[in-house]
């Protein structure tokens, strides 16, 4: 029972990342009809917003290690700590959540520039061309990041108070030995809030209503005198922000490197297809579902019976679901049916 409970948590946690990336992908596909293979790169860019923010707030005075003469070795003392003492230390400690302040405007800008500068030229082009150009863009972005930050992962610590584990076993009456990292629980809650915010935006605001109408019938909305393209540009930027903040908050779980986006991209596309192309609810549902399935498939008891199942389970489930439900879990008729 303990193992099952923990694997459900693992799955939800993993699924939260899948769902957040897939949500943005679906949003872009549903509004602009673009298959955006650069979406994983946006997740990675978000993670590097956290790295950049940390680098900025830890600009330091360098205290040289005089014992080393062959090269310059030094210990860093951040100015923020020198100037503001404990307050400075707290700001540095909370650099990951605080870096959302940097990530939101930056990702908004990146999303806007990407859509206006490149993506809009491919609206009416075949999906194959969209995939090629966005995939190329993803590679360019990751090579730029590698050139600036190197190939090695860069560690980002969660705030000290959240760095340990919560005794989740005692919360559900399963004993004291069942622990789960605080930051992963926070990530789960955070993803829930972001998903809710996106749905609320689309469901309960006039702006969102127009976007939804545009997703259904772009031409009719245009005939009503609404500049739907501008709204879709904003949606693209929102998708970029969602991917970006998801990347920021994921950094204490997985130290980011330039390849981070690619690691999630393929799985997120599987999630989108399983959920149903263009279906936001489907993307979220499939994200959590596949996350949980993957976690269970990695259990030793399961692998003892089916060796290597953890490597193929997602694709196996995707095949089965698509055989039974060709449009995915919540796919609508007419979307990519051709």
């Amino acid at each position: 029972m303990d193992a099952i409970f923990i694997q459900i948590l693992n799955g939800l946690d993993k699924g939260a990342a899948y769902a957040l990336i897939a949500l943005g992908l679906t949003l872009v596909f549903g509004t602009l009809g673009i298959v955006n293979f650069a979406h994983g790169a946006l997740f990675m860019l978000g993670a590097f917003c956290a790295v950049t923010f940390q680098k900025i707030i830890t600009i330091s005075v360098k205290v040289r290690d005089e014992g080393v003469t062959a090269f310059v070795a030094y210990k860093e003392q951040p100015y923020l700590e020198t100037w503001f003492g404990d307050t400075g230390r707290i700001i540095i400690d909370y650099s990951v959540p605080l870096s959302i302040i940097l990530a939101i405007p930056l990702m908004l800008l990146v999303g806007y520039v990407m859509e206006r500068g490149l993506i809009k030229h491919f609206y009416k082009r075949p999906h194959a061309e969209q995939i090629l150009v966005t995939f190329g863009l993803a590679i360019v972005i990751q090579e730029i990041i590698k050139a600036y930050f190197g190939a090695n992962p860069i560690p980002q610590a969660a705030p000290e108070i959240l760095a340990g584990s919560a005794n989740v076993g005692s919360w559900v009456g399963l004993g004291d030995n069942l622990v789960y990292p605080w930051w992963r629980l926070i990530y789960l809650c955070f993803s829930g809030i972001v998903i809710f915010a996106v749905f609320a935006f689309l469901q309960f605001t006039t702006y969102g209503m127009v976007v939804r109408a545009g997703m259904r019938d772009r031409e009719t909305v245009g005939l009503l005198g609404i500049n739907i393209e501008r709204r879709f540009t904003v949606v693209f930027a929102i998708a970029a922000i969602v991917a970006g903040v998801a990347g920021v908050m994921y950094t204490p779980i997985l130290p980011p490197d330039y390849h981070l986006g690619m690691e999630f991209l393929v799985l997120s596309f599987v999630v989108v297809v399983v959920g149903g192309m263009g279906s936001l609810g489907g993307a979220v549902l499939a994200g959590f579902l596949l996350g949980i399935v993957q976690s269970f498939a990695s259990m030793n008891e399961v692998k003892d019976i089916f060796p290597g199942i953890d490597q193929i389970i997602l694709y196996l489930v995707a095949v089965v679901i698509l055989l039974v439900l060709p449009r995915g879990l919540m796919g609508r008729a007419g979307v990519m049916d051709d």
Binding site: N10, D65, A73, Y74, K75, G150, P252, L254, M299, Q311
Partner: protein, 450 residues
């Protein structure tokens, strides 16, 4: 004099006959000298240069390590050509290196990108051999790559001086006559680490292994398992994890209730960074199991990789091939040269690559030829010193170097950004030696048909 006259031979005649006789006698050796010259690939006899092939990961996850390897190679080339301060040319013993190239030829190089993929590494090595005309291939940051390139080099009759490869297989079941490894291996890590584990954690422990699912991971798991079980430790479970898994949470959580009190991470590079960081996040290091503190061990440490794990590395035990903080003459000379050139200390990968280049060059000088079988014979059984890690032997039977092994701990209180590993123990070479037959394999022939 008169006797000559009597026999009908003048002094002039005798001298002429002697000169002709000498010429005739010398003729075979004159033609035999370099007789193999035309018979081996990329023979540089008619060129003023000798070209070496540096096959390192220039892209992909180990690109930073590859860049450091390349820096070391370029430094070695400089030193071989008499530029710079000479580095370990000044400390290597015995050495025939003079700083005037190799056998009077200037050393040049070509580079390839392994991408840390076996097929890409073979392709770039093949390109360097066939198009760039390199005489020796060296480098790499993965055992899968090393085994693949080594096998290619055997087929091509080109010597391969391996870079960073730690699997027992490289000089075990997959060893080749044309392949040489200076780096230590998993067996040696286990042998070096075990006494320190015994001293620090005792002999009554229960270990759980998470292992990268490829040649290096398998052999390291086997070696560490054997070493720790010999101490009296029990192995609770060994679980293979896919390379590049990213999120290891589903593999770490079963450890929590497994009854194990030690987690051994047979991971390297990004896998090590992720699994270690996540194991710490799951509170493993704060746990008490079986009345003991839960411990994590990372048998193969690299300073470059340790950077990525941040604070998670602090206090963790492991082994490393070499560290820039060593104070022997060779290490100091190398660190001085590398630091002056690049403004940072060399990694253990850089060290092994630099040493391999010098060892190859020296073997050519000793052989008096670039002909690979003769160079191989010089490397086989070669004893040397002054290159870090104390007196070292290139064992003839499996082409594995034997030298002292460093046991290190993630530094709790680093004095600088490079001071990440603290040397806990230097295990003497005799303690990590083993019978070469235990890993099987055949070296293969000296002569290669082309």
């Amino acid at each position: 004099m008169s006797d000559f006259k009597k026999s009908g031979m003048s002094r002039r005649g005798l001298l002429k006959a002697g000169a002709v006789g000498g010429l005739v006698a010398a003729t075979p050796s004159f033609f035999i000298k370099d007789a193999w010259a035309e018979e081996f690939r990329n023979n540089p006899t008619n060129s003023g240069e000798v070209k070496l092939g540096f096959n390192v990961p220039q892209s992909g996850p180990y690109a930073d390590e590859g860049a450091d390897e390349l820096r070391a190679y370029m430094l070695a080339v400089k030193h071989l050509n008499g530029e710079g301060d000479g580095g370990m040319l000044n400390t290597m013993k015995p050495s025939m290196l003079t700083g005037k190239g190799v056998l009077g030829k200037k050393v040049t190089y070509a580079t390839g990108d392994t991408q840390t993929k076996s097929d890409a590494a073979r392709a770039s090595a093949k390109r360097m051999i066939e198009k760039d005309g390199v005489l020796m291939v060296t480098g790499g940051s993965s055992s899968g790559v090393a085994v693949a390139v080594q096998s290619l080099c055997q087929e091509q009759g080109i010597i391969f001086m391996a870079g960073l490869t730690h699997s027992n297989d490289t000089t075990g079941k997959d060893k080749r006559r044309y392949g040489f490894r200076h780096f230590f291996n998993a067996y040696m890590s286990g042998a070096a680490l075990a006494p320190v584990l015994n001293k620090e954690y005792g002999s009554d422990r229960r270990a759980y292994h998470l292992t990268a699912d490829y040649t290096w991971g398998w052999t390291q798991e086997e070696s560490i398992k054997n070493s720790t079980e010999a101490l009296g430790w029990e192995t609770v479970n060994t679980v293979k994890t896919p390379v590049g898994a990213g999120d290891f949470s589903q593999y770490i959580t079963p450890v929590l209730n497994s009854g194990a009190d030690v987690l051994i991470l047979n991971h390297y590079g990004k896998d090590m960074i992720n699994s270690l960081s996540q194991a710490v996040q799951f509170g493993l290091r704060d746990k008490q199991v079986n009345g003991k503190n839960f411990e994590i061990v990372v048998p193969l440490f690299s300073r470059l990789m340790a950077q990525g794990a941040g604070d998670a590395i602090k206090g963790i035990l492991g082994t490393t091939n070499w560290n820039w903080s060593l104070q022997d003459d060779g290490s100091k000379a190398f660190v001085q040269s590398f630091g002056a050139e690049y403004g940072a200390p060399p990694s253990m990968a850089a060290h092994t690559c630099y040493v391999q280049t010098l060892l190859y060059a020296n073997a050519c000088e000793m052989a008096g030829t670039f002909y690979p079988p003769e160079v191989i014979k010089q490397l086989e059984g070669f004893n040397f010193d002054g290159m870090g890690n104390g007196p070292t032997l290139y064992r003839a039977e499996d082409h594995q170097c034997f030298k002292d092994v460093l046991v290190v701990r993630g530094n709790e209180n680093p004095s600088s950004q490079f001071d990440l590993l603290k040397v806990v123990d230097i295990t003497p070479r005799a303690q990590v030696e083993y019978d070469w037959t235990i890993f099987g394999g055949e070296l293969g022939p000296y002569e290669v048909k082309m």
